[in-house]
Symmetry: C2
Subunit: 464 residues, 2 copies
């Protein structure tokens, strides 16, 4: 009894601690009332102007975190969706929206492309986007991926309480500080929408943390109960069924690693809640420390530097990562013992870090031949390896042969690889730049790139 | 048609080639008529003398290859089995047999132990064994493992033709030359009995070779059809159901590697039959060649030399091999990259050969922690590796940490291992000798041991 009572007290205390912490954090990250009001007023003005130049059946919706008071301070994005009846064609809705936008607001409109074109402009402090879409009902088949946004707005605006909106902002800051906020492919983290869904589902930031600390992937959150007994079609480690589109996993982009990072983060925070989980300082590593660490590791580290191909982030990063993986795979196949790799973009350049156990691969290669059951293949293997250093010999159900080769160094092998990057699977836009790659001594990297390199070298979860 | 006709001609020619080769080989390996007659006469004399001193119900059987004319020239083993009715006790049959043997033949009888004691003596050129056993019918439960021998004699003596007996001898020589003859644990090859069963089943040496060249393990030979549709209880890659005991696999001892060696050998022989498959010369490797090969491999080779424990072969070799495997496993766990190991006994010493990619293990160790799902284990791991060189970090569903360690050399590690051989699983009788082990430079080995070492270094199947 005594112990239980204490535990309960501890629990209450913790609950209080997290709540008051959330309140304090919120004060620092919530846009001021003046800020929020001016943003909304501006959005309303542009919306009204847009409506005037659009067919009567159209509806202009101010959506996104600014519209719902779930954004972080400093975010000045205004998303205006123009929804058309489904009888219109894509070409029509784009043309009509563009004309209306240009009439409604004099600005330097830029045309961008998602599934179809939309407009973006910087106007004072605000970045405004005007996006045409089709009217859609929940779970109806979409004519375009952007059609969901007005539905999300309707759904969340009706349901989120004031305190929950605060908790969404707190959760975003919590994730941002850990490098887990953002659904872009560079990050593969939690989108703003996902934060709102999680707070809505678990009722509060504190509850999200409590729940996630106990998650055992695969995790399924199905707020609206769209699927009975988890019979959903999603294979990702975190599945959050989109409340307004049961065919979509709102957490699809989150990698397994990032999901586990979030779980570990929540466990650590729950054990010892503190402001440092929201406003941790990223440590800067001086060059001397980096040099010492490199020496202590006693490994072979090579940094390749190329001109970054000019691509939008959501193409650049997948290609960067694909190239990194292909490089690691190829070096492993070539018998270099790859300890780790990294890649990053900094100052117009892309960098690949390769770390091997040794700068030299083993002199001797043991070749695993075909299974003994394939008489023909075995005969061919035996013929091909008549001159083997050792073998061919039989071990278990296979034939083997060992060849010694001229020792080859990592840098030599890399130079050979860079001559034909398509041969080992570098991503398309990286083939040309890789041919002009240079190896850069780690300590020669410029400030930002050096810190990215340090993030590899001193990789550890910040909350541990 | 044309092609078929040619193939058939080729087949006939090959058949003839193998047959005439078998005949020529047989001439060299078959004991002369005088030899065989004198052996049989001597066996008959001792049998008769034994019978006189034994109870009336006993039967003395001359069994084994000498009795069946399936032995190789130079083999002078005479096996006499004394079978008693099952009403006798083990003690009685041993006592009565020993007394009778000592009366029947004045010789320096030595007591040996199988499942129960038997006697062995050298008498002139002959090595004679007198073994007590119980009368048994085929497939009846055995009172002792040796009880089968008289049944084997009955079964085979009735069935093998003259030509088949010749082919058994030829098959034995074929296997002997390839190092595959003998069921002892040092060899794990084909027993004499198995050779007789194979020739009987396939009708001839040529047919055995033809069949084995096509074998796709698991292979089952069930001459007497004891099991319907291969529903036998044996798990070995080659199963030859003992004709007189369906509960025994006469090929149980053959390792997977040796079975595939036999298959490969038969394929090679069938493709190009020649006398070299029976009388190949084992190449002697001069020290200079060994030194050159070691240098070319560029690996780290260490030879450990110990006093061989005094054990019968069938205990010595399993313990030797167990110790070799344990050593390899332990070094691998300690992050040495083991390329290969070997062990052998020569001149009263036992030797272990260890070959690693490098004399030094990697400086950095990447520790794979517990799965992220085990919150407690992860917390412990994180605490234990606060001071890690890199990490703890999350990758996929696990936590990792990297530690750098003082570089350790293979020889240093081996010296540490030899201080407590029981700790890493050396076999019981090897623990003490290993504590006194010395490392021996390969080229310091004496002639025979050096050639055993060369067999490792130049390992290859001789017929390729």
């Amino acid at each position: 009894m005594q112990r239980r009572f204490k535990a309960r007290l501890g629990g209450l205390y913790m609950q209080h601690a997290i709540d008051s912490l959330a309140e304090r954090v919120s004060k620092k990250i919530t846009p001021s009332k003046a800020e929020a009001d001016s943003e909304k007023a501006f959005a309303a003005k542009v919306s009204a102007a847009l409506s005037k130049s659009l067919p009567k059946q159209c509806r202009v919706c101010f959506v996104g975190s600014a519209a719902r008071d779930t954004g972080l301070r400093g975010s000045k994005d205004i998303d205006l969706f123009v929804s058309f009846p489904r009888s219109f064609s894509k070409e029509e809705i784009v043309a009509k929206t563009f004309r209306a936008a240009r009439r409604a607001l004099k600005a330097k409109w830029e045309k961008h492309y998602a599934e179809h074109p939309y407009l973006q402009a910087q106007h004072g402090a605000f970045r405004i986007e005007v996006i045409p879409c089709f009217e859609t009902s929940p779970h109806e088949e979409l004519k375009s991926a952007v059609d969901r946004s007005p539905l999300h707005m309707d759904y969340l605006q009706k349901r989120l309480t004031e305190t929950q909106r605060r908790d969404v902002r707190v959760l975003k800051q919590f994730l941002k500080n850990a490098g887990l906020y953002g659904a872009e492919l560079r990050i593969q983290g939690f989108s703003g929408l996902l934060c709102e869904y999680l707070v809505l589902n678990y009722r509060s930031f504190k509850n999200v943390v409590e729940a996630a600390a106990q998650w055992a992937p695969p995790v399924v959150v199905d707020m609206e109960g769209h699927y009975a007994e988890r019979r959903h079609p999603f294979a990702e480690p975190l599945v959050v069924i989109d409340a307004i589109d049961k065919n979509r996993n709102a957490a699809a982009v989150i990698s397994e690693t990032n999901l586990y990072k979030f779980i570990a983060l929540c466990r650590a925070f729950r054990a010892k809640p503190s402001a440092s989980f929201f406003f941790g300082k990223r440590k800067k590593h001086p060059a001397g420390e980096i040099a010492r660490a490199l020496k202590n590791r006693g490994t072979a580290v090579v940094v390749l530097k190329i001109a970054a191909p000019k691509l939008v982030e959501d193409i650049l990063y997948p290609q960067l990562h694909k190239t990194e993986r292909a490089l690691a795979r190829h070096l492993t196949l070539q018998d270099f013992r790859v300890l780790g790799t990294a890649s990053f973009v900094s100052g117009g350049n892309a960098f690949f870090v390769v770390e091997c156990e040794s700068a030299e691969r083993p002199r001797l290669k043991r070749l695993r031949g075909p299974p003994m059951s394939s008489a023909k293949a075995v005969a061919d293997f035996v013929r091909a390896h008549k001159g083997a250093h050792r073998g061919p010999y039989i071990e278990g159900g296979r034939v083997f042969a060992e060849r010694s080769r001229a020792a080859t160094f990592l840098e030599t092998e890399l130079k050979a690889l860079l001559r034909s990057p398509d041969a080992w699977g570098a991503a398309s836009h990286f083939v040309k730049p890789l041919k002009l790659a240079r190896t850069a001594p780690p300590l020669s990297l410029k400030a930002d790139a050096l810190q990215e390199f340090a993030a590899y070298l001193f990789r550890r979860e910040s909350w541990w």
